[in-house]
Symmetry: C2
Subunit: 227 residues, 2 copies
Amino acid sequence: MRSATDPRDDLTARARIRDAAVARFGRDGFGVSLRAIAQEAGVSAPLVLHHFGSKDRLRAECDAHVLATIASHKEGAVGPSGPDHLLVDLAQVESFAPLVAYVLRSVQHGGELARTFFDAFVADAEEYLHAGVAAGTVRPSRDEHARARFLAQQAMGGLLVALTLEPVDDPAQLGARLRAHMDAVALPALELYTEGLMTDRRMLDAYLMYVTDPPGGTPDPDPTPSS
Amino acid sequence: MRSATDPRDDLTARARIRDAAVARFGRDGFGVSLRAIAQEAGVSAPLVLHHFGSKDRLRAECDAHVLATIASHKEGAVGPSGPDHLLVDLAQVESFAPLVAYVLRSVQHGGELARTFFDAFVADAEEYLHAGVAAGTVRPSRDEHARARFLAQQAMGGLLVALTLEPVDDPAQLGARLRAHMDAVALPALELYTEGLMTDRRMLDAYLMYVTDPPGGTPDPDPTPSS
DNA sequence: CGCACGACTGAACGCCCGGTTAGTGTGCTG
DNA sequence: CAGCACACTAACCGGGCGTTCAGTCGTGCG
């Protein structure tokens, strides 16, 4: 019983299965079989069901566990470089790499956790940008929320595409791969962020003119004919 | 025989199966069953194998078909807004929406076609940026290729994340969804592209200083010990 | 001690998968 | 008309999946 191993209590088979599931889900995707998870945890497949009821509930528990773990670590030490680096920094710590892989899989696959994570990223980005604007290091935007969402989406997506096109087999190398991605991205990103891309304001001004005064007015707002 | 239906020749059951496979793969992912594809094409499952040999070869043929179709259309009319808009513009045409969905699925899943497509995107972006630099509308970069890759990766990834987090059920709505994504992204993107993000050059200059003169020198270039 | 209980497992079930086989209909060809 | 090539299908196969079941083992408790 748990009374005998009181301090560990969560390092028992149940937790081992959960950790193995996180690792396998992250490495091979959510289609991985229960038997593979069981083997990774060193137990039999039915024991997984015995503890978690079903594969779906196991997945849900993994979601909650990953969410809670990362959230608690986010509080502990705020990243030096904004939300984009949180996952990258976490992945450098070997023990956290599986969690990061799990998060990336989630975002690749979609679903509840992915949206939760992404919303948190956007919120972090917005907060970070707001601090920059207040400190005078970041230009204000005409729509701060849209900008935060845009930047988070682009950064997350770019990372995901890079990892998808050149997948990392060994989760121990995930940290190095993420670091390499940041290195490859650093120069163009900093260039873009400080110098922009365009040499003049024509396109932006044209767009601003367009949204405030659409050329076609409001054409046929309810195009439902009589038939 | 094909001599009887000479002009159609490619609209026979084989092509119908291929199109059904493209549609299903794009809508439900590559895990979709052969039976579902067969049902969509209105034939029996073994007929799919009869024509294509195996699921893998069917997938390969879909890859080639999608690649060829989009490539031929790309030649026909070069997009007015660079490579990012090619898929978006194509998806507006209802008949092309399944192909676009297939491409996005490919990039989400990884693999050969994904890399081929992505490399083509990068090449298009590089060409487009180069033209802009030559015309004086786009600032030059210290690493043109890295910038093109960066922008393509971010744009593609951002689109993918947006669609993954809020998936589109009906392929007929894909065009509208992509348009909505471009609308949501237009303002922050144009702001970033024309005005940048930073108010000063400190971070960029610090980075440039760092890469040309790393603080740690060249630490242990070949860390292979004697053992 | 005896007993109940939870952790745990081997075997098996039902299902669906990709793929195979054996055969049917059909239309062209000689 | 006979022969034949081809598109096409019903039935089936082995295998892997999530899940269930019956039972064993170890252990704390009356």
